[in-house]
């Protein structure tokens, strides 16, 4: 009568939904630019569905950390394990097989940038369907249907044939998020995605990210939006001088930090947020 096998819970590693190992694991990650050690041994395990906020002063290495995950930067040491498989980043060059595996990895990890980076010569819909068609090989019609559905969820379906230059920053950033989602990634990386936006446009982008988090997307979020990090992320990491200086539940790290430098940093960030509008522009 009942078809359910009794030992489902202890099934092997081949079934990611049943044996929830970390989706992403970093072990002693190092990155050196010329003489500068930007990352000095970062270890981190991210479980499926987790939303990890990464905070830290500029130059602390948090963006570099994110960019190492999808190998936009090549680590100089340490291990990256994605979906249970070690990522081979050491070999590099003209070897096609290596490139194919690298592209496969990247196609499963969505990334959103501070400066949106939409393609200005393509319309909104073209931006969204490009990678699904070219990289994943979806039929054009399927890709367009899915893209239209995604655009509808962010209320931008009427903008489908506009060029990015005609959209507001907030709209562009939401399209950039949708473009990444169209690849159906397992992990999303957000690199200070609201930092370039006018204050009144920040909300719509954070709202979309919050919705994603609630839908169970695994996310690594580099951000200065402390309130967002506190309310949406499951865990927060404070990076200082290339190492994880503090780590814990977002509510604890961000409201009652144990580390003195975390406290100072939060003090500065929160102070800056509430400072009068007439502050000098960002360098």
């Amino acid at each position: 009568m009942t078809e359910a096998p009794p030992h489902r819970e202890s099934s092997g590693p081949g079934d990611p939904t049943r044996s929830p190992g970390p989706l992403l694991e970093l072990v002693g990650l190092h990155k050196t630019f010329d003489q500068t050690e930007v990352l000095r041994g970062i270890s981190l395990a991210v479980m499926p569905g987790e939303v990890v906020a990464i905070i830290g002063a500029s130059g602390s290495g948090k963006s570099t950390l994110l960019r190492c995950v999808n190998l936009l930067e090549r680590p100089t040491g340490g291990e990256i394990i994605f979906a249970g498989r070690p990522v081979d980043y050491a070999v590099h060059g003209l070897f096609a097989r290596q490139h194919r595996r690298l592209r496969e990895l990247r196609s499963q990890i969505g990334m959103v940038f501070q400066s949106y980076n939409l393609w200005p010569h393509k319309t909104v819909i073209e931006n969204v369907v490009e990678a699904p068609i070219r990289v994943r090989g979806l039929p054009r019609r399927t890709a367009i249907e899915r893209a239209e559905d995604l655009l509808a969820t962010i209320g931008l379906e009427e903008k489908r044939d506009e060029y990015p230059a005609r959209l507001s920053g907030g709209q562009q950033q939401r399209v950039a998020i949708v473009r990444a989602l169209a690849m159906e990634p397992k992990l999303m990386l957000f690199d200070e995605v609201t930092s370039a936006l006018d204050p009144e446009l920040v909300g719509e982008v954070l709202e979309l990210m919050e919705r994603l988090a609630k839908d169970g997307m695994t996310m690594l979020v580099v951000t200065h939006e402390i309130a967002f990090a506190r309310d949406v992320s499951t865990r927060a990491i404070y990076i200082d001088q290339g190492v994880i200086a503090e780590e814990g539940r977002a509510s604890e790290v961000l409201t009652a930090p144990r580390n003195e430098r975390t406290r100072q940093f939060l003090g500065r960030v929160l102070h800056a947020r509430h400072a009068p509008a007439a502050r000098p522009s960002r360098a």
Binding site: M111, W119, H121, V135, A180
Partner: protein
């Protein structure tokens, strides 16, 4: 006196009409050569531009040498090397083929610099967002980067194409009977250098003007689409 002038003008007119077909077909040849040269120069220029920004030294180096050599030597010498020089080492070509190759390779070095400038003008984020989605190098180049580069470099590339068109006159020195050599032949027969060099000049002018117009239209077309 006045009658002499009238007679001369009449002569000029009738001889212009008589020589028109010859000049037109010589112009057509110049145009054909130009088109082939421009296509070859784009191929050379694109390859050299991509080669010059390669992270690998052994790819970069030959292209750097190519651009350095071509831009640092006179076009006429390059034409002579291909047409008169290469046969000495066993490579023989018709004047037409030698001319197209010499001018194409020559113009390619200038195109390379133009394309490289265009590539550098594309923000790094364009590359990063494409790679982050899993695109390959060729997808990145052909779908994202080069279409944007084309828009940027359209004005300088048109400029280079006009230069190429005018440079075809240098092929008169290696017996390609294009517009310039055709004019010289007619002049040798008629002893009217003023008339026929002006005719040749006007024909070049018409062709370069058409080229510029074409490019301006393209530019407007692209401007509307972004």
């Amino acid at each position: 006196m006045i009658e002499d002038w009238g007679q001369a003008a009449g002569d000029t007119w009738s001889s212009l009409v008589a020589y028109a077909p010859g000049f037109l077909s010589a112009s057509w040849l110049a145009l054909q050569i130009s088109i082939l040269v421009i296509l070859l120069s784009w191929a050379c220029g694109l390859a050299a531009a991509l080669g010059k920004i390669s992270p690998y030294r052994f790819i970069r180096w030959p292209f750097q040498f190519y651009v350095w050599f071509v831009r640092g030597t006179p076009t006429l010498i390059q034409i002579f090397i291909v047409y008169f020089g290469l046969p000495q080492v066993g490579v023989r070509m018709s004047p037409f083929v030698a001319g197209v190759i010499a001018l194409g390779v020559n113009s390619g070095a200038y195109v390379a610099e133009i394309v490289r400038g265009g590539l550098l003008a594309i923000p790094k984020g364009q590359t990063e967002s494409s790679l982050a989605l899993g695109m390959s190098y060729w997808q990145l180049m052909s779908r994202i980067i080069l279409p944007q580069v084309v828009r940027i470099i359209l004005p300088p590339i048109t400029n280079e194409a006009t230069t190429t068109l005018k440079n075809t006159s240098l092929l008169s020195t290696i017996t390609v009977v294009e517009l310039t050599l055709h004019a010289q032949i007619v002049i040798a027969r008629t002893f009217r250098p003023f008339d026929f060099y002006i005719v040749a000049a006007v024909l070049y002018l018409i062709m370069t003007t058409l080229l510029t117009h074409l490019s301006a239209r393209l530019e407007r077309h692209y401007a509307r689409r972004q």
